[in-house]
């Protein structure tokens, strides 16, 4: 008999004080999905960044809104969706990372999205039922996907 893969939905207020909880839950779910400690930490970081983006850009820092996180072990892949009902942020409008300008102009814009893209296999943004959905996917290596 195949064991059912875990999935979890978490509703949090749009406050950075809940990022620690987001990190803990994501890391535990990633470890449960078979990822090693270091990779689980990086997955937690990617979800931390996605949630921070929602708080800062979709909700503009308002703390009385809601963020939904859906974390799912789908067998061959680990998927996290970060859902908000704030303003639509076009990720293509986020400036690309330019290392040279970091120092000369103290630019840090785009670091979060860049980190997410480097850590995950896929990062997509879509609009669904008047909500923004950021979908983060990490594929497992075949040994961990069983």
């Amino acid at each position: 008999m195949r064991a059912r893969k875990p999935s979890l939905t978490l509703l949090i207020p749009s406050q950075t004080s809940f990022l620690g909880l987001v990190r803990e839950v994501t890391k535990k779910m990633a470890e449960s999905a078979g990822f090693a400690d270091g990779t689980a930490d990086r997955l937690a970081l990617a979800v931390d960044e996605a949630t921070t983006n929602v708080i800062e850009h979709a909700y503009h820092g308002a703390g009385d809104c809601e963020i939904e996180l859906r974390i799912e072990d789908r067998g061959p892949e680990f998927r996290v969706e970060v859902v908000d009902s704030g303003s639509t942020v076009d990720p293509r409008a986020v400036p690309r990372v330019d290392l040279g300008r970091y120092v000369s102009e103290r630019r840090t814009g785009g670091l979060g999205v860049h980190l997410m893209e480097k850590i995950m296999d896929s990062v997509t943004f879509r609009r669904s039922a008047r909500r923004n959905v950021c979908s983060l996917v990490k594929r497992k290596d075949p040994a961990a996907a069983r």
Binding site: D48, R106, L111
Partner: protein
């Protein structure tokens, strides 16, 4: 338990910071506050010992970026030591390992501030 604590101490005129926990958009103020405290005291030689750091998000990297110009402008530097696999990986992903000096140990980071020829 606090999500981030930052202990500090001074060795050979170098300010050592020991962040323990994780640095993200929520905890970055604690980290940033300790950097600013050192700068306010005229301490521009800083080593961040990352042994207790689980991860650093872009907000924390932004805090370093925000201070580095003032630090280097005053003849100092912010150097890093004891990065775990995750933190080293984050620095490499973003190319920060080309912007900052990173040392395997705290001692090597401290001695890197000694003038050339000063011996060990």
């Amino acid at each position: 338990m606090a999500e981030l604590t930052v202990e500090t101490r001074d060795v050979e005129g170098v300010t050592l910071l020991y962040p323990k926990g994780f640095i993200n958009a929520h905890t970055v103020r604690v980290f940033e506050g300790e950097i600013q405290k050192a700068l306010a005291q005229g301490q521009f030689k800083i080593v961040v010992n990352c042994a207790g750091l689980a991860y650093i998000a872009s907000a924390g990297l932004g805090a370093i970026m925000g201070a580095i110009e003032e630090i280097r402008g005053n003849g100092g530097d912010l150097r890093l030591a004891n990065l775990n696999e995750t933190v080293r990986n984050i620095f490499e992903i973003l190319g920060f390992n080309r912007l900052y000096h990173i040392y395997p140990s705290e001692l090597e980071a401290i001695t890197s501030f000694r003038p050339a020829g000063a011996g060990s």
